[in-house]
Each structure stands twice: as structure tokens, then as C-alpha cells.
């Protein structure tokens, strides 16, 4: 019984890592769909969200069953409740990839991203992918150092977000109001995606160290 229980805990963890891979792949595809106005790719992301939601449900139910049958305590209990939270963040990251894909779809055959801000979205897509990859490692290895690094890398996303506003608010911005609204929303989606990655990292840090205040560990 106990051995099965240990395996089940490890397997739930492996599912979380896989889920973070799925979410990362969804966001990368969504970014490409956005930049290249690739509607087929956007549709793939939108359709794929059902799978991500199903994985979330499955992990939640497995955690619930494990709580009910095995009644874990101490660190094992904390591991299960942490997993139940992390799936929520990952699912939301998948939703945000869908939001990006839907906006790409809405502006087809144009790209929602004018040339002036294309480098910023290229970079945002890159940072998003890097963050979600780090999330996978942090979960797989309960890697506190990686979690702290991840929070620093999130600052890059905040910088990109500010750059976007500078571009859109520059006096020569030629793309009008609709495009400004699109870019504001897109910027928000990428920023929230990064925030959820940080949230996962914080949950892992709390699980391992019992510390909620990441600043206290940055030494």
C-alpha cells in the first residue's frame, strides 16, 4: 500500500511536469500564430485547451483520492495540497495561451502585431517559454534556486510590458485605437502568464522551505 502511495505521489508530480510542457508548447504556438497570422496554428492551440483542462481535472481527482484513501500528513500532505494549487496556475496559463491564439484568429489575415512591436512580442514569447521550462524543472526537482531565478527572469517580462506601452503611446504611433487595445490586452496576457509561472515557483519554495517571502531567500 505505502509503496503504491509513494509511486502515486511521484506520478502526480510527473503529470504536473507534463502539464507544464503542454502549456509551454501552447504558448509558443500561440506566439507564432500571433506573429505570423497563422490561423491553423491558432486553432490548434484553441482546440488543445480541452486536453489541458482534462489533465487538470484528472490530477485534481487523483490528489483528492490520495487524500481520501491514504490520509497523508506532514510533507506528503503539503505536497498534495501544493499540487492541487499548481494545476490551477497551469490551467490558467493554458487559458492565456488561448486568449493570445483567439486574438491572432480575430485579426486574420492581418497580424495583430504591427512591425514596431514585433521584436517585443518575439522577446515576450521567448521569456514566456523560458519561464515555463523553468517551471517544469522547479516542479520536477523541487529546485528552490531555480524558483528564485525564475522570479528574477519575470522582471524581464515586466520590462517588456512597459516597453509596449512606450511604443503605443509614442506620438508617431500609426496603427490607431483598435491595435492599441489589442496590444494592451496581449501585453496583459503575457504578463499574467509570467505571473502564474512565478506563483508556481513560490508554491514550490513554500513546500520545500516553509517560507512564503521569496525576498527573504534571495541572499
Amino acid at each position: 500500500m505505502r509503496e503504491h502511495y509513494r509511486e502515486e505521489l511521484e506520478d502526480i508530480n510527473a503529470c504536473l511536469v507534463e502539464m507544464s510542457n503542454s502549456v509551454g508548447s501552447a504558448m509558443s504556438k500561440a506566439t507564432t500564430a500571433l506573429l505570423d497570422a497563422d490561423v491553423a496554428l491558432a486553432d490548434l492551440v484553441i482546440a488543445g485547451d480541452e486536453h489541458i483542462d482534462a489533465v487538470r481535472e484528472s490530477i485534481e481527482e487523483r490528489c483528492f483520492t490520495l487524500l481520501a484513501r491514504q490520509q497523508p500528513v506532514a510533507t506528503d500532505l503539503r505536497t498534495v495540497t501544493t499540487a492541487m494549487r499548481i494545476v490551477g496556475d497551469l490551467e490558467r496559463m493554458g487559458d492565456l495561451a488561448v486568449h493570445v491564439a483567439k486574438l491572432a484568429r480575430m485579426r486574420f489575415p492581418e497580424s495583430a502585431v504591427p512591425v514596431e512591436v514585433r521584436p517585443i512580442f518575439l522577446e515576450a514569447g521567448h521569456v514566456a517559454h523560458s519561464l515555463v521550462t523553468q517551471v517544469g524543472t522547479v516542479i520536477a526537482q523541487l529546485d528552490v534556486r531555480g524558483a528564485l531565478q525564475l522570479e528574477k527572469d519575470d522582471d524581464l517580462m515586466d520590462q517588456l510590458h512597459r516597453q509596449l506601452f512606450t511604443e503605443v503611446l509614442s506620438p508617431g504611433w500609426p496603427h490607431g485605437m483598435e491595435s492599441a487595445i489589442d496590444i494592451t490586452l496581449l501585453g496583459r496576457y503575457y504578463e499574467r502568464f509570467a505571473d502564474h509561472a512565478v506563483s508556481v515557483a513560490r508554491r514550490v519554495v513554500f513546500l520545500v522551505t516553509g517560507e512564503r517571502d521569496m525576498a527573504a531567500l534571495h541572499h
Copy 2:
């Protein structure tokens, strides 16, 4: 022991209701701060978020302790895991009130909301307050019918959100790009606030009925 346990479950539920009241009050204050450019009120909302975060932490820890010591099963276990999720939604609703307050603060002494869209934000504030009040009732009474109603009322927020875009995109919009960006973000904050209210309602419905698909219950 068991009697204490039942009391503890009820008390956690009462804390959730109180937390939804705090969050509702924060969003109402934030809306007033926004419409009247009331910076003192905005500061109150921003400062008050620490309390909401502390309540979340406290509820989470109580749920965890209850799981560890009492090892509930079946419906009681589902009640505790649901509470652990609901606090996450409520905390996020508090964050969104803070976002509204911060935007009000940033534009002070102006109001971030031009007269053309003032009625829409008045209505959005009203709907937000109504939704969070319903959330309190749904949690307190495990009220499935109320939860279904709440989801319908969320449609109002989506309508308001669309109206906002129509206003900002109208050819005569005189307030420029910065204002358009503000309104886009504000619209998003109210919409997300409502989404989280719906999410709480869905969790309660799932707790009571075991049904995740709300559409299946709308008959």
C-alpha cells in the same frame, strides 16, 4: 474531538463569507475612488489588501491543519479542498480591486474614466458588487440555485465590457491613446473580477452536486 471538528468546518466557511465581504467592500471603494478620483479611498483599498492576503493565509493554514489532524473523507474532505480553492479566487478578486485603485491613483487628480464611459463603469461597479454579494450567499448556504443565477448575471459584465470597446473605438473618441489603454485594462479587471465570482460559484456547485458542467444544471 468530532464536535470541535464540525465547528471548525463551519468556522472556516464563515471566514470565507467574511472574506467575500471584504473583497466586495474593496471593489466598491475602488470603483468610487476611480469615478471620483478619490486618492485617499484608493490608498485605503491598496493598504487593505494586506489584510485580505492574511485572511487567505490563515484560512489555508486552518484547512491544512484540519486535513492533517482530522483526516476528513467524502463530503467533508471535498468541503475543505473546495475552501482551499475558493480562497485563491477571493484573494485574486482583492488583487483586482487593488489594480483598479492603483489606476485611479495614477491618474489623480484627473479621473481615469472620461464622462462618455462613466455610466458603464458605474454599472460595472454595481454588477461587481452584486456578484460578490451573491458569492457570499452561495458560500454561506451552499446555494446551487444562487450559483446558477450568478453565472447568468456575469453575462451582464460581458455586455458592459463589449460596450466599453464600442465607445473607445467610436470615430469621435476624443481622449487619446493613454485613456484607451486605461479603459481597456480597467474593463479587463472588472471582467476578471466577475470571472472569479463565477469560478467560486462553480466550485460550490461541484461540491454540492458533483457536476462540473453548469450548463447541464440550467434546466
